[in-house]
């Protein structure tokens, strides 16, 4: 876990530097390599340095740094763009409040675009570094898969292929499958070995892919040992990947709604 914390801190610090770097690059592109006395670089960088932590907080609130977030997705890019817009707005306001002056609007556009581009590229790169470091033996996040099903086989394969930081290290199957391993992950027996496997394999995540009737007991075991529990929707018979988790008067619910036009996404 120490490895993860160190990497995460490194990531956050590098993002701060990246934000300031993006504003520096925007300055150099717009103002030029000969520094302007009308619009001094030191003021520009001071404000960027003040705003960087605020921009980072905005980015953190979008859960971009979450372990389960895939950086190379449109979804994630949208959050990065949102944070960059917020960063630019905050930069503009802060500069005005501190120095009582506005300046080149194009510079702001440059700064925003550079922030977006730098952040996306760096995040995609850092994700690769992070995944490889977290998977290095012994893997930091070690998952126990419950159930040998087509869905669980696909999941294991995907987690391994994408080098997801959550590394499957063991499988238990309530029905006692004859298969000895799935994609290199050993099948360690039936659920009676749960306690042993949780301890011996230092499990941090449990992913239930079958044996719905045992969900309470699996969840109980996870709660007791501080393990993160996950449930595949297919265990509940939801197999079309059209479910979402919503809140119904404060009560979380898994929702599968009829398909409608894309614009309904904003209102549902």
């Amino acid at each position: 876990m120490q490895r993860y914390r160190t990497l995460l801190n490194l990531w956050l610090l590098s993002d701060l530097a990246l934000f300031v770097g993006a504003y520096m690059a925007a300055y150099l592109c717009r103002v030029g390599w000969i520094l302007s006395t009308d619009f001094p670089l030191d003021k520009h960088i001071t404000v960027a340095a003040i705003i960087a932590p605020l921009w980072l907080i905005v980015l953190i609130t979008t859960r971009t740094f979450s372990l389960t977030r895939n950086q190379a997705t449109l979804h994630n890019a949208a959050y990065i763009i949102y944070a960059a817009v917020m960063g630019t707005a905050l930069f503009t306001l802060t500069y005005y409040f501190l120095y009582g002056a506005f300046f080149s609007r194009l510079l702001l556009v440059y700064a925003m675009v550079f922030t977006i581009l730098f952040t996306i590229v760096w995040h995609v790169l850092f994700e690769k570094i992070l995944r490889s470091a977290l998977r290095k033996d012994p893997a930091v996040f070690r998952a126990l898969i419950i159930g040998v099903t087509r869905e669980s086989k696909r999941l294991i394969q995907t987690l391994n292929d994408t080098k997801n930081p959550i590394t499957p290290v063991a499988i238990l199957d309530g029905r006692g499958t004859k298969e000895k391993e799935i994609a290199g992950v050993p099948v360690k027996g039936k659920l009676n070995k749960l306690e042993d496997v949780l301890q011996e394999d230092k499990i941090t995540h449990l992913i239930q892919c079958s044996d719905l009737e045992q969900s309470l007991n699996l969840l109980g075991a996870c709660r007791k040992q501080g393990i993160t529990y996950m449930l595949l929707p297919s265990v509940l018979g939801i197999v079309e990947r059209d479910e979402r988790v919503e809140s119904l008067e404060g009560q979380p619910v898994t929702m599968v709604a009829p398909k409608e036009g894309w614009w309904t996404w904003f209102f549902r």
Partner: protein
């Protein structure tokens, strides 16, 4: 306890199974130690065995501790626990293999009453022993009285002219010829033990197969037919059914229980030191030191030291130490 029968006999109880179908109840205890109608399943068997017949219970290292504690409670001088050299389901010796190993190691040369520890037999075991003929293996068979139900078990075909004489077996037949089913209680005369040891080498898992082997070798096999209750506690449903049949539509409260303001239906069993308040229970078994408050439970088995508050459950077995509390909407 039944008094002496003055017989040269030894009882061997098979209790080495890991009972994975009953997980999580069998996570830390052997299936024969599951409470049935207020006491461990195996105690129902042992209490019926005449006191002059020594008893050996064969289990595995993982379940040893529970059996040692149970032995202390039973307080029977000629009760021995032996440990199979297996720690997991994958390295089991096999039921017949364990029997043969014990016969070899202890150089047993007397009749053997062979029992499977996860069976509840409502008939009289002394009467079963008395019904044996010299030299003939004897198998207890239960008359289910329903051909449809028999198809889920190993059936025993008897001679129409001599109903005590077994002429064949069928394993889970699609169309059973009889409603007599084989149970986990048999008597092996000392003359047949060499066959058991020999057969076990090839079929260490097949206890039932030994009787077919006897017939193949023209050794007459007899049966003792009974219609008293019999349960093979192999699954969640079978366990609940056994409790329902033995307790009836009643509430069985063990010592030190607190039971207040509850509505009950069917059979409800509350174990030692448990507290149940303001709840609706229907066919529920609650083990020891568990607290249930404001719950609706139906067809549930709740293990030791659980705490449930405001929960509604149906058809669940809950693991020892489970804490579940319904938090109202935030």
């Amino acid at each position: 306890m039944v008094l002496s029968l003055n017989l040269q006999m030894h009882t061997f109880i098979l209790a080495g199974g890991f009972a994975t179908r009953l997980w999580p109840l069998t996570e830390k205890r052997a299936k024969p130690l599951l409470p049935v109608a207020g006491k461990p399943l195996v105690s129902h068997l042992v209490e019926q065995i005449p006191e002059d017949i020594p008893i050996t219970v064969s289990t595995n290292a993982a379940l040893k501790e529970g059996f040692e504690q149970w032995k202390d409670v039973m307080n029977r001088p000629n009760l021995t626990i032996i440990i199979e050299d297996t720690k997991s389901d994958d390295h089991k010796l096999g039921a017949l293999g364990a029997t043969a190993q014990w016969l070899e190691q202890e150089a047993i040369d007397e009749d053997v009453l062979l029992l499977t520890g996860d069976n509840y037999c409502g008939f009289s075991i002394p009467e079963f022993i008395r019904s044996a003929s010299t030299g003939a293996p004897l198998l207890a068979v239960h008359d289910l009285g329903d051909l449809g139900k028999a198809s889920a078990f190993g059936t025993v075909i008897t001679d129409t002219n001599n109903p005590k004489s077994v002429i064949g077996f069928e394993e889970k037949p699609k169309e059973p010829k009889t409603s007599l089913v084989s149970t986990g209680c048999s008597l092996l005369p000392k003359e047949t033990l060499s066959v058991v040891k020999e057969y076990a080498k090839e079929h260490p898992d097949n206890v039932g197969g030994i009787f077919e082997e006897f017939l193949r070798r023209s050794i007459p096999v007899e049966c003792y037919t009974f219609s008293e209750p019999w349960f093979d506690i192999g699954s969640f449903d079978a366990y609940l059914e056994a409790s329902r049949a033995l307790i009836g539509e009643n509430i069985a409260l063990d010592t030190g229980t607190t039971f207040e303001n509850n509505t009950c239906e069917g059979s409800v069993i509350i174990g030692k030191g448990s507290t149940v308040r303001n709840s609706e229970l229907r066919n529920v078994i609650i083990f020891e030191n568990t607290t249930i408050d404001d719950c609706i439970l139906e067809n549930c088995i709740i293990d030791n030291s659980c705490i449930l508050e405001g929960i509604e459950l149906n058809g669940k077995m809950l693991r020892e130490g489970t804490h579940l509390a319904q938090h109202r909407n935030k």
